[in-house]
């Protein structure tokens, strides 16, 4: 990919995704430098990063950017992505589009209710519906893998709705940035 087409891609992305960001800019940002392997603990210099630039790997660790959000939550026994989580999926799809060597795991989870193997299926179905949305947004299926843990990896262990709703989730895990 040459420099000009890179600028074009970034500009196109910014236009496409501008609507998702709260702070819409008229001028496309400077082309992002080549993604450097950054440690998650590196502080992000927020003054110099546009949080709406979903091509910039620094935004993965920038709390002001949608890219820092990695959890998508679901209703009981449902696997459709609720409207409020669509912008998160779009942001990560944009990141994958802009960074072809990036790879992610979509970890599907369920709450404890019902039987374990059925919940394994439910976790996968949730992962797949996030996957489908990512593909519709232009990410490549080579970049994404779905793995279901069913109810085996809860983040919260009480038997209450406030706990269950945190466990019904898909976690986006980058295996390569």
């Amino acid at each position: 990919m040459n420099f000009v087409s890179k600028i074009f891609l970034v500009a196109a992305l910014a236009l496409l995704l501008g609507a998702c960001a709260s702070d819409t800019r008229e001028v496309p940002p400077e082309p992002a430098p080549e993604p450097q392997p950054t440690e998650p603990s590196d502080p992000v210099d927020v003054d110099r990063v546009d949080p709406a630039d979903f091509a910039d790997s620094r935004n993965l660790d920038n709390p002001d950017s949608t890219l820092s959000q990695r959890e998508i939550y679901f209703e009981f026994d449902r696997s459709d992505v609720r409207p409020e989580y669509v912008p998160i999926v779009r942001a990560h799809a944009a990141y994958l589009r802009a960074n072809s060597s990036a790879r992610m795991l979509l970890e599907g989870h369920a709450d404890e209710r019902g039987s374990r193997e059925y919940n394994l299926g439910l976790g996968e179905r949730r992962g797949n519906s996030v996957l489908d949305l990512m593909l519709a947004e232009g990410a490549s299926s080579r970049q994404i893998e779905v793995v279901s843990y069913g109810e085996e990896r809860p983040v919260c262990r009480q038997s209450s709705e406030s706990c269950w709703e945190r466990n019904r989730r898909v976690e986006i895990v980058y295996t390569a940035r």
Binding site: R113, G114, Y118, G121, S148, Y149, R157, S159
Partner: protein, 445 residues
């Protein structure tokens, strides 16, 4: 071992290596904390019996636990018997002619079991001779003998208890069996570990078969009681494994894309049904273990999982949400004739087939209350057996009289067992720990 390590102590590397070797060698034999069994709901009219201490005299070889204790505990746990405490016994016959029936009548005991050890020539083996007498008629119901040796006494005691159970109830016993279950150590912490454990049916002698930091799920016994199929996430993805519990030999049966889960041995042990999503969606598959041949039984956008074989091996029950919510369906072995089995309630899943009568046990409920229920398919009657609210993983005893299942108490998992008529229930509790997914083995021959 200690001496040998000491002699190499000047070489740090060697010491570390032998320590590693020690850890690896010891792990497969690791002994886990034992389950304690508590009876929750008793049964009215339990049969009064007495199990007299077996006479081992001054034999060189003595059982690890007195046989009469193991036998009486088994009978009591079944809910059908009320064994007399040994302290209340007036005399201790070892053979029927020594029985003074009048004394037992006064103690209101209906049946007396007794026995003695007959040592063999080598001092390391011999026979247990045992008898059951009926107090009111004065008749001897049976007199039998069974060979025993070091390490086999508990199993022999369970088999004697099975004989007594069968003689007095008309149904085979299930004490000489094992259970497998998953234990989670330090749940929710960075040190969380999953263990697959096999223990005797009374919770005794728990052995860790596999231990891993990644989840272990869905243990299922081969019909010979030697192989366990289960799901391991050791690679970060779900794989189906078959492991020989005695040799430790393991084979990966299904791996690769998507879910590889829900293994279920066919009644003849030659086939393994599973739920696999390699086609992009979870479907029921059957693998012929000898040849590796794979057959896909279902093909539907729904979640199709939790296969369970009918007793004759001609059908597979499974859970599917093809009608919107999870219900039990049945498919012929060749993938044809899919029919819905459950209609009552909006959540029925994880069928378990009674190997004796063909009754179906399942997780039944909805919303925030899941209980164990049995379905009699002839009368179409669904009977709820457990109190809920998070009950799951039903597994029939090999004689079909009890169902083992998993329940939650607060943040931890416990095991429980309930009789198929719901009259009798017990808890199997670890002093500290989280246990789940019990699977009752076939009878040990």
């Amino acid at each position: 071992m200690f001496l040998r390590e000491k002699s190499y102590s000047n070489s740090a590397m060697t010491a570390i290596k032998s320590l590693l070797l020690l850890v690896i060698c010891v792990l497969p034999l690791a002994v886990s904390a034992q389950l304690r069994i508590e009876i929750v709901d008793g049964v009215e009219g339990a049969l009064p019996v007495a199990v007299v201490p077996f006479d081992f005299g001054t034999a060189e070889l003595q059982p690890e636990t007195p046989l009469h204790e193991v036998i009486a505990d088994d009978l009591r746990r079944s809910g059908l018997f009320d064994p007399l405490p040994v302290g209340d016994m007036v005399d201790r016959p070892t053979r029927p002619p020594e029985t003074r029936f009048g004394t037992w009548r006064l103690l209101k005991v209906d049946y007396v079991a007794m026995g003695r050890w007959i040592p063999g020539g080598d001092g390391m083996s011999g026979e247990i001779e045992y008898h059951l007498v009926a107090v009111h008629s004065g008749r001897t119901l049976f007199s039998r003998a069974i060979a025993a040796g070091p390490g086999a006494f508990r199993l022999r005691a369970h088999q004697i208890a099975d004989d007594i159970y069968e003689e007095l109830t008309g149904a085979p016993g299930a004490f000489a069996s094992r259970m497998a279950y998953v234990q989670v150590l330090q749940p929710g912490t960075d040190d969380e570990q999953f263990e697959l454990i096999v223990a005797d049916s009374d919770g005794h002698n728990p052995q860790t078969i596999v231990r891993h930091r990644q989840p272990i799920m869905s243990p299922n016994w081969g019909p010979e009681g030697r192989r366990l199929a289960y799901v391991s996430f050791a690679t970060g993805r779900s794989n189906v494994i078959i492991q020989d519990i005695f040799s430790g030999q393991r084979e990966i049966i299904a791996e690769g894309r998507g879910i590889n889960g829900a293994p279920a041995f066919s009644p003849d042990g030659r086939l393994l049904a599973m739920s696999l999503s390699r086609s992009g969606n979870s479907e029921i598959w059957v693998r012929t273990l000898e040849t590796g041949r794979m057959e896909q039984l279902t093909n539907h956008w729904a979640i199709d999982t939790e296969p369970a074989w009918s007793r004759d091996g001609r059908h597979v029950f499974f859970t599917s949400d093809r009608a919107g919510r999870p219900q039990i369906y049945r498919v012929r072995r060749d993938g044809t004739n899919i029919e819905r089995i459950t209609h009552e309630g909006d959540y029925n899943s994880k069928a378990s087939v009674d190997p004796h009568s063909g009754l179906l046990a399942m997780v039944h409920g909805g919303d925030a209350n899941f209980r164990i229920a049995v379905l009699d398919r002839e009368s179409e009657r669904l009977r709820v057996l457990s109190p809920g609210r998070m009950d799951e993983s039903p597994s029939f005893a090999p004689n079909g009289r009890m169902i083992l299942y998993a329940a939650r108490e607060g943040e931890r998992g416990v095991l429980a067992a309930v009789s198929v008529d719901g009259s009798f229930r017990q808890r199997l509790v670890l002093s500290d720990g989280d246990v789940r997914e019990p699977a009752w083995s076939p009878l040990i021959q």
